[in-house]
Symmetry: C2
Subunit: 528 residues, 2 copies
């Protein structure tokens, strides 16, 4: 693909905050400019001598990209061997002396080149001069974005339920969330427009939000994935209202087909790397003709979290300012991580990497299917649409007590819970209907301030005491300020509560046993 | 050593800035508290399954700690082999599945325990409840300290010449340096007291500085190392004026005996690890009975910079707030770095690590001696004290043109340059006397605003054009605001300029050739 015909990013420098504007280039820049001259003797840098690094050769057994991941560790004879020698050799430039030395704060050039090509081929940004800058994982990357763009006490756009760590950086700055309502396709464009169009009347005298934080695939916690049409609508609104989109996309290659409760989980049919790539919903980059998307991508979910390695895709102005911050905040990700990931990706090649991602997707799809099937085994799972008058607007699957005779359910009979099987990521987001629980009704009758939160806290503790841990839905409530803590003060849906179930880690037997323990507590609290 | 008799840190919470105070613990804390219960099934965390990490076994050849580093890579048969298996085994808890998974943001517990013991044995803090928290190298560590303690527009205490990257984080915040004069033993206690005692009159209406940034061993750029008595004086002043000391100490184990120009560089006699440890000047921690020192230690100079790994030693209140920031800023250093350093240190053991540090010190001492000897080979090097009327107060070594007949030097004859051979670190800080250069006198006569800076810039460019790179002294000028840019506006010493020479990297032949190229330019500019 050629990018020559695409426009460059537009000038978005008015989004930079004061501190980001004030950063100055490292004074060592002049030195770097001279460094490459033939015959130069540099006594400028304080580089330790690489002969004094106490390491001589690294060897690592790695899986071939087409490994059948359902089988566990591949047999030794089938593994590939990576080595990183102490010094560069005819075979490879990558050496311990280079990856363990002080270096370019942008990150390893060969790794960035691989990722630039990968971005071009897979995500096809709609502008020409996007750049790659390495970071230390998406949590760290998002923190750098906040410090690039957000001023203290500003508002920030996010989804109705949002990743709690993403808030930890801006809440202490006095900033507040503007949560945008979601449906099964993620953030709703109509609600976004409503909020932005009425900003001056709803929030007189305050700056309209100019940054959006969004997890568009396998959203954490809701599991929703945003299709192309919705992305286009959201992007166009961001152009209209001049908003920078931060696309936090760690689950981007974990996309699945829909799951119906009537399905019998079947073995997943493996796709080729190319078919896999073609099956993914496009990134926001695909619509980004102005360069207003900062994409955060990570190896945490696709290789391993301990790499603490990921990358920004952004316009050159933003990557230059992010690099200035990186020079003082982290300098560069670990040389071990950069060297090992570079060797892994170049050994696999882009085609191999896509095959790996495709096989990984397959195994997580099986895990999603297994979690859904286990819920259907323990509860009575029925298509929610059949009970529309009990669960207005419900999509997906309703869970009733297992003893329920489905033929006898009255159209207005509340289920215990409902969920939409996610088409991406690692999480099921289960909504509980609290009116069926006597203790909840008691809390309401007592007039406690936030009966939903009080009940869900008791529910969570009862689950933990019954040896099953879930993540409470309340963790994902965007921070709108101390005056909007309760469910009613936030104007959120009443008489419901959420729990997040992760399907990434447990075996099928553990999932089943865990869900049985959930059901034991539900049975008691819902008194059936 | 027992710490039971030592006092705990005093409450220093009034030093935290607003953002640090406002940070809240991760909501996931409740989940962690339940996590360890026997029989618990957790579907809470979004952990990728470790069988899906594509790595199977890491093997690394490492040097034995007593390696003769002057010999280059030790023969293969003498090397030690580290392995990290995929899964924990009877032999080791350290496994790829643990180091590459999401984990405790404080860092690997076994590594922290090793470093806690090392700190206790080597530095002997004067309070009992100090803690270890991993960070991503001292540059990143210092940035976290700034974000912990400093408010925008405050003043900060530092040395007369300071590490430029340390300023890059606070200059954009509108902060300003309060440089404290130095002598051969580092920051001067008398000038510190003078500045602090007169603060209210010199800076009415502004908060007195409450943070000191200091590099007390092998100071960058001056190379000075602060002896115990001076540290005690500085510490006592910091108690009196309630100042937090940030001890940035990457060169702490690179300490050398004095070097006289009359010395013939001799092979260094290796010390035992214990004798080596006993030979080091004490850390500020040794005097720190209140817990007001934040020590930054790094593996960049002692193992390799690419590890991007180091650690804070600080009081529990500060480490708790730093941990809250770490959770959103970096989560944790790379698992590869943590795992490899842990395996290296536990394979070597504390005694082996001290032996390694001692051998490393030896090799850098040889490099320092070689650099000094090469300067004496190219220039005429004479004890500065003999030319006291030409170089008032000069310590160390004066450099005259090589053609100079030392017997004929008049007592008031300015040398070209002078320096004190450093007793720590990686740098020589050479002071040039500019009055001997016709071009400098011309700039003065023309009345340019900052003739010292203008001349030194021309000097640096002439050096670079003659294929030798040094670091200009101007990089190390503390930022005091836009109104204090010129030498005269800062009240700095007139008619002198500095260059920093690193002796860490080049071979003796390269050093000699580099210094000859310097001398060619000096000869031309000083017109001799």
């Amino acid at each position: 693909m050629t990018v020559a015909a695409l426009p460059p990013a537009r000038d978005l420098s008015h989004h930079l905050n004061e501190i980001a504007k004030n950063r100055f280039p490292s004074p060592l820049k002049d030195i770097f400019n001279y460094m490459g001259r033939p015959g130069m003797i540099s006594m400028a840098g304080g580089l330790p001598h690489p002969s004094l690094f106490p390491f001589n050769e690294l060897a690592l057994q790695v899986y071939p990209p087409s490994t059948d991941l359902s089988e566990g560790v591949p047999p030794l004879g089938e593994q590939m061997s990576l080595t990183i020698p102490k010094y560069p050799s005819a075979k490879t430039d990558t050496s311990l002396t280079s990856i363990l030395q002080y270096g370019n704060c942008s990150g390893n050039p060969a790794l960035r080149a691989f990722l630039h090509q990968f971005t071009l081929d897979l995500y096809q940004p709609a502008y020409s001069d996007f750049q790659i800058l390495l970071h230390e994982g998406n949590t760290s990357g998002w923190t750098k974005v906040v410090r690039l763009l957000l001023e203290p006490n500003e508002y920030i756009l996010c989804e109705e339920f949002t990743f709690p760590s993403s808030m930890s950086v801006w809440v202490p700055m006095g900033c507040k969330a503007v949560p945008i309502k979601m449906d099964g396709e993620g953030m709703r464009a109509d609600h976004l427009e409503e909020v932005l169009a009425s900003w001056e009347t709803t929030h007189p005298g305050t700056r309209r939000p100019h940054i959006m934080y969004i997890v568009p695939v396998g959203q954490n916690p809701s599991g929703s994935t945003m299709p192309a049409e919705r992305r286009k609508e959201i992007y166009d609104l961001c152009v209209k209202y001049d908003i920078i989109i931060c696309e936090d996309d760690p689950y981007t290659t974990l996309q699945y087909p829909p799951f119906e409760i009537t399905d019998t989980p079947a073995p997943v049919a493996p796709k080729s790397g190319a078919d896999f790539a073609a099956s993914l919903v496009p990134s926001f980059l695909k619509f980004d003709y102005e360069g207003r998307v900062i994409r955060l991508e990570s190896f945490s979910k696709t290789i391993a979290p301990g790499n603490r390695l990921g990358y920004f895709v952004a316009n050159p102005l933003f990557t230059e300012r992010l690099l200035r911050a990186t020079e003082v905040e982290s300098q560069t990700p670990s040389g071990w991580s950069q060297g090992i990931i570079l060797q892994l990706l170049t050994t696999w090649g882009q085609a191999g990497y896509l095959t790996w991602l495709s096989r990984l997707r397959d195994t997580y799809q099986t895990r999603r299917d297994t979690m859904c099937a286990n819920l259907a085994k323990v509860f009575k799972a029925l298509p929610a649409a059949s009970y529309a008058s009990a669960v207005p607007g419900a999509e997906g699957i309703a869970l009733y007590p297992s003893s329920t005779d489905s033929a006898s359910i009255k159209p207005d009979q509340l289920p215990v819970a409902s969920f939409t099987a996610p088409v991406g990521g690692m999480f099921l987001w289960i909504k509980f209907y609290l009116k069926g629980a006597p203790r909840y009704r008691e809390l309401v009758a007592q007039g406690v301030e936030d009966p939903e939160k009080s009940f869900m806290d008791e529910f969570w503790t009862a689950l933990a005491d019954n040896l099953v841990l879930l993540t409470p839905g309340s963790y994902y409530t965007p921070w709108e300020g101390a005056h909007k803590l309760s469910t009613s003060a936030r104007g959120a849906e009443r008489d419901v509560g959420y729990m997040r179930f992760a399907f990434s880690y447990n075996s099928s037997d553990e999932m089943e046993e865990g869900i049985r323990r959930v059901e034991q507590v539900v049975k008691k609290l819902w008194a059936y």
